[in-house]
């Protein structure tokens, strides 16, 4: 039994070695076809990888914009800080809240002075107001939610009866339009990404499949001869799979080098377009993952396209 198993494995190993050799020979000897399929696969991989870069840059852009969006809750002037912290702790229990920052009356006064130091009229008014109260500006809680539709709910809970004597003003209604617009832009970017991904991936698969189909069509006569000599499906299709894998690997290597050159050359343009997103350092930090992704995409494209293209020649 053991001997039979050993023979089987030996048989499989010899077959596999031959299939790899045939695949490499096919790739090496059909230089023109190998070049064109590798070239097309390089374009396909670059399409998909450019999507990954676009996603990374747009996520950076989205979080940058979202970081700027919040609502401010101003408290009555005579309220103790402890009361404000109680409100803050109460709010932090809400799932919708991402972050709350407290700004005291002193800090608000300082910020106001810095912001309006060139406005004489405003500064004089402030001085007059300080005659009655050294800190005439209210303490503030700056609240950030996870998404635009959550602000409504947060504001509703702040407008509860229990906070009526504490809270002076909530600026949500003034900023509602801007908040909603920012979030709709981010939603729009995500939708564009999904549409672009689908189109690019479809194009990548189609062009790769068609190129490999043409390559196989070119070798149709050889395929038929192999069948007539008695080669099994595995023995016939194996070398084409290996050819696809080799093309995919070389294509991923080339596309890695092209994308490296591309991000190096466009580093500053992309940085100014996407708010300080440095694509070159991102690429260097993620180089191994990017290369791995490209290899996986290349090899998968090669295998899938080869299987689909060769299938019809293997039917009896």
């Amino acid at each position: 039994m053991k001997k039979k198993e050993d023979l089987y494995y030996k048989f499989m190993f010899t077959s596999l070695k031959r299939i790899i050799k045939f695949g490499w020979n096919n790739f090496y000897r059909n230089k023109g076809l190998s070049f064109s399929s590798t070239f097309i696969m390089t374009i396909a991989i670059l399409l998909i990888v450019s999507l990954l870069f676009f996603r990374e840059a747009s996520q950076f852009f989205i979080s940058y914009i979202q970081e700027k969006v919040d609502i401010s809750v101003s408290f009555n002037l005579n309220i103790d800080e402890e009361k404000i912290f109680e409100v803050k702790n109460e709010l932090l229990k809400m799932e919708e809240i991402r972050n709350i920052e407290y700004s005291s009356q002193e800090e608000e006064l300082e910020n106001f002075k810095q912001k309006h130091q060139d406005d004489e009229i405003l500064m004089r008014s402030l001085e007059e107001a300080q005659l009655f109260n050294p800190f005439p500006l209210p303490a503030v809680l700056n609240i950030k939610a996870w998404s635009a539709d959550q602000y409504e709910q947060i504001v509703e809970s702040l407008e509860d009866e229990k906070y009526r004597n504490i809270i002076y003003y909530i600026d949500y209604h003034d900023r509602r339009l801007i908040i909603e617009r920012v979030f709709s832009i981010t939603k729009w970017i995500n939708q564009i990404f999904i549409i672009l991904s689908s189109i690019f991936i479809l194009i990548a698969i189609l062009i790769t499949f068609n190129t490999i189909k043409l390559t196989i069509l070119n070798q149709k006569e050889e395929l038929i001869i192999q069948r007539l000599v008695g080669a099994s499906n595995w023995f016939i299709s194996g070398p084409f799979l290996i050819q696809g894998i080799i093309s995919g690997f070389f294509a991923s290597l080339i596309s890695f080098l092209i994308s490296l050159g591309f991000v190096y050359l466009l580093e500053f343009q992309i940085e100014s377009l996407f708010f300080e997103f440095n694509i070159f350092s991102y690429f260097l930090n993620q180089a191994f993952i990017i290369f791995l992704v490209q290899v996986i995409i290349g090899i998968t494209l090669g295998i899938i396209s080869s299987i689909i293209a060769i299938r019809k020649y293997l039917k009896a």
């Binding site: 020979n25 000897r29 000599v229 080669a231 099994s232 039917k315």
Partner: protein, 236 residues
């Protein structure tokens, strides 16, 4: 599917019709015959008489419209592709147009027939060089098919067909591209292989060859067997 009697090949009321632009062309019409093991049979007939179709049916390359074709006890056209592949490994086919794999060297073309049946490399090397010596092409081992003449290609095709010592050789006009000297060499080679117990089906329209062989001759005319004689002659 299973047939009890002992024969190598058998045609039973086989009809093969090709459809060309909706016009039916009858290639073979209701033909029946048997070939015993170790027999040498010449199939003769004019061009278009159905010789190549007959060989294609034996190789499982075509399916009959009616009737059955047997390889030993197996009805060829009811077998799965995998089993047809296994049967083809027991057949050595010499094609009229050689059908060599253009991207492989001469050595690789011949070795391929042994590689598909998973013979080890040492045996392949030994056998391929032996057969190349027999067909006089040892020096051309590393050439590609396009670097060979018609006669040399035909000899490579023969070498590929016999290298794995098949039970049956199907030769479709193997001498059609050859000069008289090479024709004689090829026929000598086929006879030598036949002496080792291989069944041979030779489709040809070469009168001289058939008459010199003095073996069984089946004569086809427009897809019908008009003569089947032991020690027959080419008469059309």
């Amino acid at each position: 599917m299973f047939h009890a009697s002992c024969f190598m090949l058998k045609f039973q009321k086989v009809t093969k019709i090709y459809q060309t632009n909706d016009i039916p062309i009858v290639a073979l019409s209701d033909i029946s015959f048997k070939v015993e093991k170790k027999e040498f049979v010449s199939i003769v007939g004019k061009s278009g008489s159905g010789k190549t179709t007959l060989l294609k049916l034996l190789l499982g390359e075509e399916k009959p419209n009616k009737g059955q074709v047997f390889f030993e006890n197996y009805e060829i056209h009811k077998l799965s592709f995998q089993k047809i592949s296994t049967l083809r490994r027991r057949v050595g086919m010499i094609f009229q147009d050689c059908k060599l794999i253009s991207s492989k060297t001469i050595y690789e073309n011949i070795a391929y027939a042994m590689e598909v049946i998973n013979i080890n490399n040492d045996n392949i090397i030994k056998n391929v060089f032996e057969i190349l010596e027999t067909v006089g092409l040892k020096e051309r081992a590393q050439n590609f098919p396009h670097q060979l003449s018609g006669g040399e290609k035909q000899r490579v095709a023969i070498a590929r067909a016999i290298i794995h010592r098949p039970d049956v050789i199907l030769a479709d006009e193997p001498t059609s591209n050859l000069d008289p000297y090479n024709t004689l060499e090829i026929i000598k080679l086929l006879l030598k292989i036949h002496e080792t117990g291989t069944t041979i089906i030779l489709a040809t329209y070469d009168k001289e060859i058939v008459n010199s062989l003095n073996k069984r001759v089946i004569t086809l005319d427009e897809g019908v067997i008009i003569r089947d004689e032991e020690k027959g002659r080419f008469i059309l």
